[in-house]
């Protein structure tokens, strides 16, 4: 027997469900995953009027119990008690958009017929009044047979009333969970009839925020604004992150210096300073950039602009066989391919979705940034090629562009070969524009930061320690270099034979092994390799950048950059792909085609650069 009742928060997309969920549960939310699928499970604590705690779970937005996308399938399965890792809810909180009653009631009617103890939150009543729409909660409650509570989630109105109503229903009624068949025609008719009964008065539909779309979707201004927002976003990722990155870096240096002076000079110190602090630190340093990127993505989603961007991009995506639906996951992939691949769950067409998953790792994720940053700083001179355009920035832009072009090319080929299928459509509700709430954005960012730091603390820490151990053992005999004697050195010698034709040296081969865990580990791995090796020479405190500059020829550096545009060096991405595609076939395919591309691109770059005499 579980003492804490479970209430599922469920409703159409854009009904204000997440804002309501945040209002009810506050900042203490748990973000996890359902076993076997990558849909996020968000839950939080709420209380009944008598103080008894309730667990609220935020289900993915859906239009009906007949799922059109894998996302909606989770919602249905939870409601019917078929979802692994989730018990049958003891009650439902249905979120209805008061300004869109006739549409949202279709789903609400299906949900009420399940027979769970149910409360309806009539949300956004303020917007409805602004649009001249007067809805009677009493009449709606009468027609639906369940309590109806008026709420304005963004202004935190209605919390106590929901607690009251939910408490009354959940504590006094048995749980249900039985889906009757629904005729879609009859459902629409019934929904419209109930909406008409509950609506006391309405003005002819007025498009209050229509002027915004007239600008945002204008044939000329629209694309310009879109390009401007994208430019601002990527500009901010670099410009805004400078100060916090410098702060983290100096903090880390201080930590390393303190640890060095506190600990005796032995293996343990080497592990703490070179392995853990050096390795994890090199990764934590770019947390600011990830957060800035996610800040923009959250802002675009919360404001309602994201769907407009998808609308503007649809035709372009259609050229390579995709649709505007793929735009949102691909944009998220610039932060990290994992949430990007998870976001493909909203794509209805399976082939469209598969293609998007397979090309998502080609979007330049933030894990590549530390790699790019180090190599560019070491090898590309910081001079201007035109007023205001630096060569370093231009190279970075080129790497992003290579990724996008590679992805488009790959989509074109995939849609004609392994992911061939009917031309996909584009159907999307365009939500009302909304001023994003600081609280909701902050909460989203906090959740991203924790996920990232857990990752840095987990997979990256472990791989750094393993690499350190591989590099440190067995200990060198006198006159032998630490690298040559180590296990890693021997492994790298083997791999070196394979990557030598594309201009990679043994240190690179060595760094590529742990970078399979995550790309950014390549930086910490190079740092570890060169700093441990440095002990053999006069121990000089030179930064990694200067060390690289002295050791790598330019063609090698360029080939290394090109390798990271394509190479699928991220175990988490492979794991998510396996879960999302239910097997090893597609992650295997992804690994093969991306490593193939990386090898060819890096090789071509190396030989072209060598031939050009760089």
């Amino acid at each position: 027997m579980n003492p804490m009742p479970l209430v599922a928060v469920v409703g159409n997309p854009n009904a204000g469900k997440s804002a309501l969920f945040n209002m009810l549960t506050g900042a203490r939310q748990k973000v996890g995953n359902y076993p076997g699928v990558t849909v996020e499970r968000k839950s939080g604590r709420f209380t009944f009027p008598d103080g008894r705690p309730v667990e609220l779970v935020d289900l993915p937005g859906a239009y009906s119990l007949e799922p059109s996308s894998p996302d909606e399938a989770v919602t249905r399965d939870v409601l019917l008690g078929h979802q692994a890792g989730e018990r049958l809810p003891d009650g439902l909180l249905i979120v209805l958009d008061a300004t869109n009653l006739d549409n949202h009631l279709r789903f609400a009617l299906q949900l009420i017929d399940l027979g769970h103890p149910t409360v309806v939150a009539l949300n956004m009543v303020d917007l409805a009044r602004r649009d001249g729409l007067e809805i009677s909660p009493e009449r709606l409650s009468q027609a639906l047979g369940v309590p109806v509570v008026e709420t304005v989630a963004v202004r935190r109105i209605g919390k106590d009333a929901i607690s009251e109503a939910l408490g009354g229903e959940v504590l006094n009624r048995p749980a249900g969970g039985r889906a009757g068949p629904h005729d879609p025609r009859a459902l629409s008719t019934r929904a419209r009839a109930i909406a008409a009964t509950a609506t006391l008065s309405q003005l002819p539909t007025r498009d209050a925020a229509g002027w915004l779309d007239r600008i945002a979707l204008h044939p000329l201004a629209g694309p310009l604004i879109f390009a401007g927002i994208m430019f601002l976003m990527f500009q901010a990722v670099f410009a805004w992150s400078e100060a916090p990155v410098a702060l983290i870096e100096s903090g880390l240096l201080w930590l390393q210096a303190s640890a060095s002076s506190l600990l005796p000079d032995n293996l343990l110190r080497s592990l703490a300073v070179d392995g853990i602090l050096g390795g994890v630190g090199a990764v934590v340093v770019f947390l600011p950039q990830i957060l800035i990127l996610f800040f923009f993505i959250l802002l675009l989603e919360a404001s309602g602009y994201m769907v407009r961007a998808a609308f503007l991009m649809d035709r372009l995506m259609a050229r390579v066989g995709l649709s505007g639906h793929a735009f949102i996951p691909l944009l998220s992939s610039f932060a990290c391919a994992i949430p990007g691949i998870m976001a493909t769950r909203t794509i209805a067409d399976p082939k469209d979705r598969l293609t998007t998953i397979l090309i998502a790792p080609l979007m330049t994720c933030s894990a590549r940034l530390p790699v790019y940053a180090v190599i560019i700083a070491a090898f590309i001179p910081a001079r201007a090629v035109a007023p205001g355009v630096g060569l370093q920035g231009l190279v970075l832009f080129g790497l992003y562009a290579m990724g996008i072009l590679g992805a488009m090319g790959a989509a074109l080929v995939l849609r004609r070969t392994v992911a061939r299928g009917a031309k996909t459509g584009f159907m999307m509700e365009m939500p009302k524009y909304q001023l994003p709430r600081v609280r909701d954005i902050a909460l989203g960012l906090w959740q991203r930061a924790t996920i990232f730091l857990k990752r840095a603390g987990g997979i990256i820490l472990v791989s750094t320690i393993v690499l350190w151990a591989l590099l440190s053992f067995p200990q060198p005999r006198p006159g032998q270099s630490a690298l040559d004697s180590s296990i890693a050195g021997k492994l790298a010698t083997g791999l070196g034979v394979i990557v030598e034709p594309i201009g990679f040296n043994r240190e690179i081969a060595l760094a590529l092994i742990p970078a399979m865990a995550a790309r950014e580990v390549a930086v910490s791995a190079l740092a570890t390799v060169y700093s441990i090796e440095a002990k053999d020479e006069a121990r000089q405190e030179r930064g990694l950048i200067e060390r690289l500059r002295g050791r790598w020829p330019l063609p090698t550096a360029l080939a290394f950059l090109m390798w990271f545009v394509f190479a699928p060096q991220c175990l988490s991405t492979v794991a998510v792909t396996r879960r999302e595609t239910n097997g090893w076939k597609w992650p295997g395919f992804m690994l093969a085609y991306l490593f193939g591309l990386a090898y060819l691109a890096a090789g071509a770059t190396f030989w072209l650069a060598t031939w050009a005499g760089l």
């Binding site: 549409n103 007239r214 769907v307 609308f311 505007g324 159907m427 365009m430 009302k432």
Partner: protein, 82 residues
């Protein structure tokens, strides 16, 4: 009568009512998704914006919702200007 006006030919900012939808031509998956977005006989529609260059997809008001669909889908719907 070949004068039936299709939704994809309806000029921007023209109010109309959907008089018939060729569900058979759309297939069940598309039917379900379009119904979810509020498309049905007798529903009020108004094309609002067309995407740049190709004029496809179209953003339109359907009932009280704004929805984007491609022209190919709009072509399956017959409308009656108000």
């Amino acid at each position: 009568m070949n004068t039936a006006l299709r939704l994809d030919m309806l000029p921007m900012r023209t109010n109309a009512t959907i008089s018939a939808i060729d569900w058979l031509a759309l297939g069940t998956a598309d039917e379900r998704r379009l119904r979810n977005l509020g498309f049905d006989d007798g529903v009020a529609v108004e094309p609002l914006h067309a995407a740049p260059v190709s004029r496809d997809p179209i953003a339109m008001r359907v009932g009280r919702m704004t929805v984007a669909i491609r022209r190919a889908h709009a072509r399956a719907m017959t409308v009656e200007p108000a």
